[in-house]
């Protein structure tokens, strides 16, 4: 078979994360040799689950070979996913997952973001201080999973006090407003834990308490990465780690799906873990050009918006992408698709990427950061 009918189904649209992921996927689909092999179509379903079900049904009816989608719910789409699998369609999700066993979930959700970042903050804060907790979107599995891990870690240290928490909806503007309000009530906070919206959170602290910044964990907005690596900011107390699932998971999932569909790779398990990005202040390296080469991972401030997600690019797995590619969806000139490194299979987490399964015993523990002992 030399051409494949491939659908990308986006749910939300209009926010930077979704846009960067979709553009990355589009650029890859237009990069040789896929430009000739793939009959590629993007469908936006919006935020209504029923619409996504309807669109997936349409894709099945239209004779898709492969469907890559961002599910609105881990369980609500199971039936239609099963229908697709039964038709022999390769079904891949990116970033968030479904519990239907025949789908391939490509995600960092199992990489213990919550536990690792919380532990990192605890370590930096010496096991004590006031922390503000920036949840993601209420009612989602991702948020609940990360929250549970992070809470578990913070709770181990009696010196850590969570003085405020809010739902920032993975949104910088909202996070900024909420942090500004909390800061006014709790002027002495020492740390902000977040999944996304960390640049907004940081802005609120810079505006409200410019001479004393905080320890943070969060998303990899370019502005945030520049800030944590900025000595002036560090001098005022900013310590931050940039992590959290990036839009490049979409491109990665696409490449993996194409390798599977074309028979280049055979997956032994359904769930694939996309490595969690992890950039501490000393790891920030500014890129001279338009893409990530030689291990650089950040752009100068005048090149992109501070909200630009550096994790839209990935030097290791997605060398085909550039700034322009993830902003417009056009392929990087001269690029060709490079093979992927071997995959890492994901842990099973019930209710997240499987239904009848058990989670590993230590799934609430950090696995990237070594815990410091509890101070007394």
């Amino acid at each position: 078979k030399d051409t494949y009918k491939v659908f990308l189904n986006m749910s939300y649209s209009g926010n930077s994360w979704q846009a960067a992921a979709a553009n990355g996927i589009k650029a890859l689909a237009a990069t040789p040799p896929y430009d000739k092999m793939v009959e590629f179509k993007t469908v936006i379903s919006g935020t209504d689950v029923q619409r996504q079900i309807s669109d997936l049904q349409s894709m099945i009816a239209a004779g898709a070979d492969a469907i890559l989608f961002y599910p609105l719910s881990p369980t609500a789409l199971n039936r239609v996913v099963k229908q697709a699998c039964e038709k022999g369609i390769a079904v891949f999700t990116y970033d968030v997952t479904v519990t239907q066993a025949c789908a391939h979930n490509v995600s960092s959700i199992t990489a213990r973001y919550g536990a690792n970042t919380a532990q990192w903050m605890v370590n930096q804060m010496g096991g004590k201080g006031e922390v503000v907790f920036n949840h993601g979107v209420a009612g989602t599995t991702v948020t609940n999973t990360y929250d549970e891990q992070a809470y578990g870690v913070f709770k181990k240290y009696p010196g850590i006090k969570i003085v405020g928490d809010f739902y920032g909806n993975w949104n910088d503007a909202t996070s900024q407003e909420e942090v500004a309000k909390i800061l006014a009530a709790h002027p002495n906070i020492d740390g902000i834990w977040s999944v996304d919206g960390s640049y907004g959170s940081l802005q609120a602290v810079i505006n409200g308490r410019p001479d004393r910044l905080v320890t943070m964990a969060g998303q990899s907005n370019n502005g945030y990465r520049l800030a944590i690596a900025d000595p002036a900011m560090q001098a005022k107390g900013l310590k931050g780690v940039s992590s959290s699932s990036g839009p490049s998971v979409g491109g990665y999932a696409f490449k993996l799906m194409m390798e599977v569909v074309t028979g280049k790779t055979k997956l032994e398990q359904q769930n694939v873990e996309f490595p969690l990005p992890w950039v501490e202040p000393q790891d920030v390296k500014v890129c001279p050009g338009e893409d990530f080469v030689d291990g650089c991972n950040t752009f100068p401030a005048d090149k992109v918006s501070p909200l630009f997600l550096d994790t839209a690019l990935d030097g290791k797995t997605l060398p085909e992408l550039s700034i322009d590619a993830v902003q417009t969806g056009n392929p990087k000139p001269g690029a060709t698709i490079q093979p992927l490194p071997p995959v890492k299979y994901a842990d099973t987490l019930p209710g997240i990427n499987c239904s009848d399964c058990t989670a590993p015993a230590d799934w609430l523990e950090p696995n990237l950061v070594k815990p410091i002992p509890v101070p007394n």
Binding site: S73, G139, T141
Partner: protein, 322 residues
């Protein structure tokens, strides 16, 4: 000499007639571009996609006809969905769950009805409040998507003798409304929406009419939540704002005036059809991505616009000098 649309025209749905034509046209386009559209699989899918919105928008239509607003529908659907996902596998069973979610719908409807019909608070403001409360309750019951609904509930998406249950429900809604509309209460719904003062002076019980409408709407939302659970087979505490907007869009496209007193459920069903087929048709003819949004918007405007033209045309055609 009295200028008025002829009765046949009114019986055919009056303002909804052009919407019906548009729906048929869209269905035709869809069928031409997507051969599987007319298979039982295609039709079944279509009906199942439409039925939840149809039930919810039916409830909303009744409230809107009385001249009030109700935003709580999306919240009730969310609560009922998470309840179905947490209860139906337990001792309550599927019928028990159905009964329970209808009770929940009823309860929310009663609260809205008390605040709006009895205390006379503004319906839009009140139901913004009850929407938020319902969304909160759904989150408390089920903090993250999950759960499972009983096999028997799942069966709602199936068919009997090749006729999808969703189709049967659709017909039941249409018949049910045709019946209700011609009862005393149905007549007072229209009267109250058109002119509350005159209705009161005519001896109609305005608060009771509104009260019943809001309660019935609650029941419809409960039923919608139940069927929604069957559709997605699990629970999800979040239901998007767009569902609410589609509810209102279906009502308006179906020719029901948001000021009350004019329109009806049959038109709403057509509106639901247009919104559902629109998605399918755009996919089939290959309109993708951003253009879907643009076309969605334009089709909604077109549906309404033709709806407005037609009574005008009918009037002019009828108005020839005697």
């Amino acid at each position: 000499m009295m200028a008025q649309p002829s009765p046949w025209y009114r019986r055919l749905g009056g303002g909804a007639l052009p919407a019906i034509l548009l729906l048929v046209l869209m269905l035709a386009v869809y069928a031409v571009y997507e051969p599987s559209a007319l298979t039982s699989f295609g039709i079944g899918n279509l009906l199942n996609n439409a039925i939840v919105l149809a039930l919810a928008a039916t409830g909303l239509t009744i409230v809107v006809l009385t001249g009030e607003f109700d935003l709580s529908g999306a919240g009730v659907v969310a609560i009922c969905n998470v309840l179905a996902a947490t209860l139906s596998m337990g001792s309550l069973g599927s019928m028990g769950t159905l009964g329970f979610v209808l009770l929940v719908g009823l309860a929310v409807g009663l609260v809205n009805a008390y605040l709006i019909a009895i205390l006379g608070l503004q319906s839009l403001a009140v139901t913004i409040g009850s929407l938020i409360v319902c969304q909160g309750i759904a989150l408390i019951i089920l903090p993250a998507p999950g759960g499972e609904v009983a096999e028997a509930i799942d069966g709602v998406t199936g068919d009997i003798f090749g006729i999808p249950y969703a189709g049967i429900m659709m017909v039941a809604i249409a018949l049910g409304w045709t019946f209700l509309k011609n009862t005393r209460w149905g007549i007072s719904v229209y009267a109250v929406g058109a002119d509350p003062v005159a209705s009161r002076l005519s001896g109609l019980d305005v608060p009771t009419t509104k009260f019943l409408a809001l309660v019935l709407a609650g029941l419809c939302y409960g039923a919608a939540g139940f069927v929604y659970s069957a559709e997605i087979g699990s629970g999800d505490p979040r239901i998007s704002d767009s569902f609410l907007l589609y509810m209102f869009a279906a009502v308006a496209i179906g020719g029901t005036s948001l000021m009350g007193g004019r329109g009806g459920v049959l038109g709403t069903l057509v509106g639901v059809g247009i919104l559902t087929v629109m998605q399918k048709m755009l996919f089939a003819i290959g309109v993708a991505e951003y253009y879907t949004n643009i076309f969605n918007g334009l089709i909604m405007i077109a549906a309404i616009f033709f709806g407005q033209l037609s009574p005008l045309v009918a009037r002019i055609a009828h108005r020839r000098p005697a």
